[in-house]
Amino acid sequence: MKNTIPERPDTEKRGGGTRPPLGVDWTDFILAVIILAVCGFLFFITTRFEEASEQMSQNIPPEWFPQIILIFISVLTLAIPFEHYFKGRKVAGKEREVKVKPISILSALLLCLIIFLMPWLGTFATMLLICLLLPLLWGERRISVLLPFAIIFPGAVTLLFTKVLGVYFEAGIWSKLF
């Protein structure tokens, strides 16, 4: 007997194929530029750290270690656009070739919105909304599954954390309703 179940994307074969032509991988090039820009910005920030007294710093100023790390990252980043050539294949594999689906962007935005509203909603309502809206966004339409899940699961988690583990949850709008 055979059923169907969701497949794990990690199991897909990665990379492979013939050696790419010598040159720059433009996606990797842009990636490297972004990383270098971030490193440059952070390096600039390190130059603005407060100056520590010589006695406190004992010749080890606070910016010294982060600067070493940033230089290390920058040097490695310079190799990224050419890495595909040395490896003889695309480095990031299939994941990068598949466009980010709108559903992923929408999921991230939805989660950001719900978390943004969390101080007002309170923890329980936030969980309830996540359990209701995220499955809906992902295509779950069975109300008989969705509603019990959206109510029972956040309820169980709230009980576990507040009663068993003693965590304080913000009541949010529930305190105004009840």
């Binding site: 969701p6 990690d10 689906k101 559903i103 991230a108």
Partner: protein, 490 residues
């Protein structure tokens, strides 16, 4: 001896046994569910564990680690989708064997070889950890710094798409660890005038975000994918004759897995792949590999579970994590007020013995649970993504919030998740970042101390033969991908 008895007595407390049982159940489920992994489960368990006593908390994590590694093999064999990365190699021969109607035999072989590998590595752990700790007690800051740098350099050779990107991820983790007030001078670094950042970035939300939320977004890319599944399973243990026939494969893989586990940063996935390769290399029936060869199952399974015990050796004896999951266990130990490393082994050896006991119990528990419940565990993969992942997110959110009742931590988790998703997409691993995050403070503190001792003279580092040895190993590790390529060519 007293410490060993004390440790075992602690772990044999009925409440601890119950928690280990729960952890094994969670571990096998998590391991079996594609997308969920042991590091993710341990990260989610971290906030819960803080409300427990240290021994049950750490024991739960250690048990979950063992069971999660085995759980992945169930789905690798039954649906050709390894529930966890260490089970990737098990699918090569496990699934073909299951397809020809011997799923039960494949599961039996996987379970028995996993337990054998696990027990073997734990015995090594029991003897090696105190010895290693004894040596490490002689380490000064400069030696510790060199050891931590060596551990970070090992990120170049761990599994992943690129050594360079692994190293960048690791360095980024170290950099994140510098956020907050500098211990030596009291100067704020990268705080951007935010009071929440002055104490540094709390690593629990970062870990939860990277492993759980990053994977959630990754799973949203594959909502429509389906796979064939074998459901008729009656688990069959290998006969003594069959077990004896494969004894050398199991022993070889157990030794290899333990050794790879001991190496800092190398984990069960590398061990499993090497275990598979070695099983094939020494097999008289090489042509059967990929078609359901029993050695192709026992080789990686003994190796990946042996790596779990091996990875605990540097974690507890040196304070250097052996894998992503042990990095989280290390973080938990620190949060419970322990100081992982030689002092933990010397001053609180009963903790080490208790962890050892928990892992032994977990190995036998997952043998029983895995064998009797394989059919049930294979069915949990039927939980729709649309329900599973929102539930994971709720746990992630609450877990991040619970630690300090801070909304800032929830945002940290969410941002870390989005970054984790993008990192994976562009070939940067989350595991190296975690290792960097955990090791970063160790590197900086010991470097600063060493530089003060050496009066800022870099060259004096080379005066210590231990530092020299670690620096040579670091160079070998960094250039290993290049060296191995040249080796193969010659």
């Amino acid at each position: 001896m007293d410490a060993a008895l004390q440790g075992f007595a602690l772990i044999l407390d009925p409440f601890n046994i119950f928690l280990i049982f729960i952890a094994v159940l969670i571990g096998v489920c998590v391991g079996a569910l594609p997308g969920l992994s042991s590091p993710m489960a341990v990260a989610l368990l971290l906030p819960f564990s803080l409300s427990l006593e240290p021994i049950p908390a750490i024991s739960m994590m250690a048990a979950l680690y063992c069971a999660g590694t085995f759980g992945g093999s169930i789905t690798a064999i039954l649906i050709n989708a390894p529930g966890a990365p260490p089970a990737v190699a098990t699918a090569f021969d496990g699934y073909p064997m299951a397809k020809r109607g011997e799923a039960g035999r494949a599961l039996g072989l996987a379970a028995v070889s996993s337990v054998t590998g696990g027990i073997f590595s734990l015995l090594i752990f029991l003897f090696l950890a105190p010895m290693l700790a004894e040596v490490a007690l002689k380490f000064r800051p400069q030696e510790y710094f060199a050891l931590a740098v060596f551990a970070l350099s090992m990120l170049a050779s761990i599994s992943g798409t690129s050594s360079i990107r692994n190293l960048i991820s690791g360095a980024a983790g170290v950099l994140i660890g510098t956020v907050g007030i500098h211990i030596t001078t009291g100067v704020e670094r990268f705080t951007f005038n935010s009071p929440e950042l002055t104490e540094g970035i709390n690593f629990i939300p970062v870990l939860i975000g990277l492993f759980a939320v990053g994977e959630l977004l990754n799973q949203s890319q594959a909502l429509d994918k389906t796979l064939e599944r074998i459901t008729s399973v009656v688990v069959k243990l290998p006969s003594v004759k069959e077990f004896v026939k494969m004894k050398w494969t199991i022993i070889r893989s157990s030794v290899l897995g333990t050794f790879i586990g001991i190496l800092p940063a190398e984990g069960a996935t590398v061990a499993a792949l090497m275990g598979y390769n070695e099983a094939k290399r020494f097999s008289k029936n090489k042509e059967d590999f990929g078609k359901g060869a029993p050695e192709g199952i026992v080789g990686p399974e003994a190796a990946n579970n042996a790596a779990t015990g091996g990875a605990m050796v540097p974690t507890l004896a040196l304070g250097i994590p052996g894998s992503a999951t042990t990095a989280l266990i290390l973080a938990a130990l620190i949060m419970h007020g322990f100081r992982p490393g030689p002092y933990l082994v010397r001053e609180t050896p009963h903790i080490v013995y208790a962890i050892f006991g928990a892992m032994i119990i977990a190995n036998f528990m997952f043998l029983i649970i895995g064998l009797t419940g394989a059919k049930v565990f294979s069915r949990i993969t039927l939980i729709p993504r649309q329900i599973l992942w929102p539930a994971v997110f709720v746990f992630s959110m609450v877990g991040s919030y619970a630690f300090a009742s801070s909304l800032f931590d929830v945002w940290t988790m969410l941002i870390a998740g989005i970054i984790g998703f993008l990192m994976k997409r562009y070939g940067f691993g989350a595991a190296p970042l975690v290792m960097g995050l955990i090791l970063g403070k160790l590197v900086e503190q010991n470097l600063s101390r060493a530089m003060i001792i050496y009066d800022n003279d870099w060259l004096r580092f080379f005066e210590s033969p231990i530092v020299d040895a670690f620096l040579v190993l670091t160079a070998v590790s960094l250039f290993w991908p290049l060296i191995s390529k040249l080796w193969k060519r010659s």
